[in-house]
Amino acid sequence: MQLIPCPWCGPREEAEFHYGGQAHVAYPDDPSALSDEEWAQYVFFRDNPSGPFAERWSHNAGCRRWFNAVRDTRSHDLLAVYRVGEPMPEVTA
């Protein structure tokens, strides 16, 4: 089973984690000013890259903290993990 390095607890099995989708999706500054299409883009549309992808993960069975991870969608390798609020580190796929 793949190990995911929690930024607090260290490497743990993937089964302890919960996936949270794309990271760094900013909430709109003024949601009421958005058109239906813009709102739909914010709510439903996500990137689907072939390569490094910044995602949110939660260490459900451990410290229960959310964190961000950069995962290579081609190899499932986790290239970097970083805590919420920290900037996305530079990665080389």
């Binding site: 089973m1 607090w8 607890c9 260290g10 743990r12 099995e13 089964a15 302890e16 069975a61 451990g62 410290c63 229960r64 903290r65």
Partner: protein
């Protein structure tokens, strides 16, 4: 008049000796309080109220002794701790912690979990059957406290001695975990 409390593993009291693999015993009704606090000054003040220094390193626990006797504080998260003390102390400990001015919360979670103490030469081998965390003394020395899965059950695992572990498990999962331990110990000579 209220009924006498029944511990989650009361039905297992006579069946927790999995010799020669390991000896398990329940420590029921321990006082447990979940403390959420992030300010370092408040963490220090709460610690001095109990006579124990709160753990600052992730995945560790600390012990101390103060007005409530021996108290353990377990690291559960960067702003979350579990205070564990002898039974029937949850109310005075809660009052003592709330007397400290701080932003956060103190919640009595004593009924949430029961405690199992495992001792024996094969305790690491048995746990390895259902727990993926590396429990070798070089990576999990005495003082380690991890939250993880043991046989798909969420547990808090404390390393309290060279061949001694303490497991905190949800009350409703305790009998399942005891049954799993009983089965896992068969390989090391235990008679179920």
């Amino acid at each position: 008049m209220t009924a006498d409390p029944t511990s989650p593993l009361a039905a297992w009291t006579d069946r927790l000796t999995f010799a020669p693999a390991l000896i398990a015993s329940e420590r029921p009704f321990l006082s447990q309080l979940t403390v959420r606090v992030s300010d370092p000054d408040a963490v220090a003040a709460l610690g001095s109220a109990l006579g124990v220094v709160f753990p600052s390193v992730p995945c560790t626990f600390t012990t101390g002794s103060g007005p409530f006797g021996a108290v353990e504080v377990l690291w559960l998260g960067p702003d979350e701790f579990l205070v564990v003390a002898a039974p029937d102390l949850q109310l005075p400990i809660e009052d003592a912690l709330r007397a400290v001015p701080f932003k956060g919360s103190v919640v009595d979670t004593s009924a949430q979990r029961t405690t199992l103490v495992l001792e024996g030469s094969h305790v690491r081998d048995v746990l390895a059957h259902g727990c993926s965390v590396d429990l070798h003394p070089s990576s999990a020395p005495v003082g380690t406290c991890v939250q993880t899965l043991l046989a798909r059950t969420g547990i808090i695992l404390q390393v309290t001695g060279p061949d001694r572990f303490t497991i905190l498990v949800r009350s409703s999962f305790a009998q399942y975990l005891a049954a799993w331990l009983s089965d896992a110990c068969v390989e090391y000579g235990a008679v179920p």
